[in-house]
């Protein structure tokens, strides 16, 4: 049993819409203020990557529950160029903003689980989940 909602990313303002959706969902599922802000930051990073590197794509938010635990999964998908060297991208200090803790390693830190599927020339799907503590 899950509930999904989504935002298409086409312009920079869609990043804001995705953030808004994520924050609302996180609040309703029962996350505290800090975790709401963390989930929103993760969405923001992923949406910005779609906007910058794939041109367009979408952010979906799924409410999840398992054994009495509740949480949220972010699914960021696009049909852009894909990422050739994922290992490198996941290294600290690699992102273009370098050493500010943002980018994909930041998303991984903000969330509990992080999974990336990417094929060069076909696109990228990133799934990240956070559970209420």
């Amino acid at each position: 049993m899950s509930y999904r909602s989504s935002v298409e990313i086409l312009t920079e303002w869609d990043i804001v819409a995705a953030r808004q959706l994520g924050r609302n969902e996180a609040k309703e599922v029962g996350f505290g203020t800090v975790d709401q802000a963390r989930i929103t930051t993760a969405i923001s990073e992923l949406a910005r990557n779609i906007y910058l590197y794939a041109g367009k794509g979408k952010i979906e938010i799924e409410r999840i529950s398992e054994g009495g635990k509740y949480g949220i999964t972010i699914i960021a998908s696009d049909e852009g160029p894909g990422i050739p060297d994922v290992r490198k991208v996941m290294e600290d200090g690699f992102s273009t903003s370098g050493g500010l803790g943002a980018g994909m390693p930041g998303v991984k830190r903000l969330m509990d689980t992080f999974k990336i599927d990417t094929v060069v020339g076909e696109g990228t799907v990133i799934k990240a989940t956070k559970w209420i503590r």
Binding site: T33, A37, T41, L100, G101, R109
Partner: protein
């Protein structure tokens, strides 16, 4: 745990709001030290502050509470930057451990045995500036009549230089025969280096061989620091020069070969530029100092000479080696 922290923070805040003393602030700083140790992110700290205030002053206006949410949002990135910093520090630590291991492997891999020849003393000191040594010493000997030594210096320091060394070692291993002429030794190594090394990697090398039967020290050099020959009878030093290009530049080089006859008390000093180009913050140390030092020790055993020269120069450089330091002495005793 978070509740415990909130309780402690509430106490510290209450005290501070009451008295506002330096001591209260000091306690606050000590508390933040604990928080950092426990990896509590800055956004969380603000959230704790907000929750504590809500408990103490529930009547504060909405605007105040809302403003904290903006602050929390902004602090998220500081938390991430801090976490990234921690993980980079840890990586650095791991790298250090790896380097130590690599240096150990290098020492084992490049170990060479000092020849034992009647009437010849060999002194050797080789100290890397960083963890890995870019200078290399290789002895080749029949432990009877001949003792050969290769002194090589990779232009550059650290790991790339160290990796290069293994190549020279295997080249030298392939020679085996100490009767091989120095110019031939350099020729063989040059071909190996030329084939296997990038154009931006250069190695200088000196090869010298002492023969007991005729007391001849025969040598050739590939762009290396000239060796010094000390003639005891005349009490003077001369430089042992020979023409020869650095290793690895072109495949075909004909290296010059020369020889000097050694009498008892004479010695040959071979070194790398870490010795001749000792630097302090004020600039290069006068190379004549090296000669003066060696001269003052000329009656001592070969190992004592190299050890004391190293100690002296290390002291002059304030115990900061800027380049790998290698010094070898072949001294004829009888």
């Amino acid at each position: 745990m978070p509740q415990e922290i909130e309780k402690q923070y509430k106490e510290i805040l209450k005290q501070y709001l009451m008295k506002q003393t330096e001591r209260n602030l000091y306690e606050g700083q000590n508390f933040s030290r604990q928080l950092i140790k426990k990896n509590i992110a800055p956004d969380e700290v603000i959230s704790i502050h907000k929750a504590t205030l809500e408990e103490m002053f529930p009547e504060l206006p909405m605007n105040v509470w809302n403003s904290f949410d903006l602050l929390i949002e902004m602090m998220i990135r500081y938390g991430l930057a801090h976490a990234e910093h921690q993980s980079l520090l840890q990586q650095q630590e791991e790298m250090k451990v790896e380097m130590d291991l690599a240096a150990k492997v290098q020492r084992t891999l490049l170990k060479t045995t000092r020849p034992k020849i009647n009437g010849l003393e060999i002194g050797l000191v080789s100290v890397p500036a960083r963890k890995m040594n870019g200078d290399y010493i290789y002895f080749l000997s029949d432990n009877l009549n001949n003792a050969g030594v290769a002194v090589a210096d990779v232009i550059g320091k650290g790991i790339p230089a160290a990796l290069c060394m293994s190549m020279i070692k295997y080249g030298m291993d392939s020679l085996q025969d100490v009767a091989t002429d120095p110019k031939k030794v350099l020729d063989v190594i040059n071909r190996i280096v030329e084939k296997s090394v990038n154009d931006d990697m250069f190695i200088s090398m000196f090869y010298g061989r002492y023969n007991v039967e005729n007391s001849l020290f025969t040598y050739a050099t590939a762009g290396h620091e000239p060796a010094l020959f000390y003639n005891a009878q005349n009490d003077e030093f001369t430089e042992l020069h020979a023409k020869g290009l650095l290793l690895g530049v072109v495949a075909n080089v004909s290296y010059e070969q020369h020889a000097v006859t050694m009498e008892a008390g004479d010695f040959v000093v071979m070194m790398t530029d870490g010795v001749t180009e000792c630097r302090t913050d004020e600039g290069f140390i006068d190379p004549k100092i090296v000669i003066t030092l060696i001269h003052s020790m000329r009656h001592e055993p070969a190992q004592t000479i190299v050890d004391s020269v190293f100690k002296e120069l290390e002291k002059m450089q304030n115990f900061e080696l800027r380049d790998d330091f290698t010094l070898v002495i072949f001294k004829k005793t009888s």
